[in-house]
């Protein structure tokens, strides 16, 4: 009875098979729940054919966007982020909103182990009015089923224009001076 094991690398594989209908199961899929493979059957026809299968994972990734890129930093108020390929050119899945706590949650992501993490790539699309979006595609190594990552969104610097005139002679510009502005680092 015909029986084939097909190796999948980067999403595809091939096999010369006898025509007929087969049951299909995953026997190796790091990071994924092998029982979620779908569909469970495949028909090899008399002409070359293509089979499209999907498989699901159960990891949860929380990404927090804040001003330090570390735990405890001041979070952004809203924005959006999406999973991509390593170059950021191809987007995968839906765009995920960043909430008022700076949190974006990706459910059902594949995960590996501490020794062999499953690498995923993301790109921030928008941030709130006061912060710059993270400029690069960033990678997350999913080594645990549940994981939290922190991404820095720096405060925006906006050009401000100032005038300094003599207090006693209206309209007389001060020829040369230096002013110092000290903020409270709240971003407000």
């Amino acid at each position: 009875m015909a029986n084939y094991n097909v190796t999948i690398i980067n999403g595809s594989g091939s096999q010369t098979m006898e025509t007929g209908e087969y049951t299909v199961s995953a026997i190796y899929a790091p990071g994924y729940d092998m029982s979620t493979l779908a569909p469970a059957t495949y028909t090899a026809t008399s002409t070359s054919s293509t089979g499209e299968f999907t498989i699901s994972a159960s990891g949860t990734l929380s990404i927090i966007f804040n001003e330090t890129g570390e735990e405890g930093g001041n979070p952004i108020n809203f924005g959006s982020v999406v999973m991509t390929n390593s170059t950021g050119e191809t987007q995968y899945g839906e765009v995920v909103k960043i909430d008022s706590n700076g949190l974006a949650t990706f459910n059902n992501v594949p995960y590996g182990s501490t020794q062999s993490a499953y690498t995923l790539y993301f790109k921030q699309l928008t941030s709130d009015d006061n912060h710059n979006i993270y400029p690069n595609v960033f990678a997350v190594g999913m080594g645990d089923q549940t994981q939290t990552e922190y991404i820095e969104n720096t405060l925006k610097s906006v050009l401000q224009n100032f005038t300094l005139t003599d207090a006693n002679y209206a309209g007389l510009p001060v020829y040369n001076a230096g002013l110092k502005f000290e903020g409270d680092d709240t971003g407000e």
Binding site: M1, Y4, I8, A26, S48, M83
Partner: protein, 117 residues
């Protein structure tokens, strides 16, 4: 009962195939792997019945021949296989993440227990 000689002209378009000639339903008198489409075998037997099996790619075809006690008779045997049963085609398999659609990095899928042809 005397021995008679019978010559078999065997035609089988698929090769190589395994040929087995049996007399009296149980005695194998010839067993060989054949690499020719047309083959000729002469046997001496005093039995009345020949069974000839051809096995190609897991499929076995059997012919039963009742001998009429005439020596030097030529017997033609044709073996035809259902080649569609074993037709092989090239299949491309794609595996993507069910939730995000990206290609799964590494996996192995088993296509087993062929359900039907």
């Amino acid at each position: 009962m005397k021995f008679n000689q019978y010559c078999l002209d065997i035609f089988c378009p698929k090769m190589p195939y395994d040929l087995t000639i049996m007399v009296d339903d149980c005695f194998v008198i010839k067993k060989a792997k054949i690499n020719n489409t047309c083959s000729k075998f002469c046997i001496n037997t005093k039995n009345k019945k020949l069974k000839i099996f051809a096995r190609y790619n897991k499929q076995i075809v059997c012919k039963t021949i009742y001998l009429n006690n005439n020596s030097c008779e030529n017997i033609c045997v044709n073996f035809l296989f259902n080649t569609k049963l074993f037709q092989r085609t090239f299949n491309t398999i794609f595996l993507c993440d069910a939730n995000y659609g990206f290609p799964v990095l590494r996996a192995m899928l088993n296509f087993g227990s062929k359900i039907s042809n």
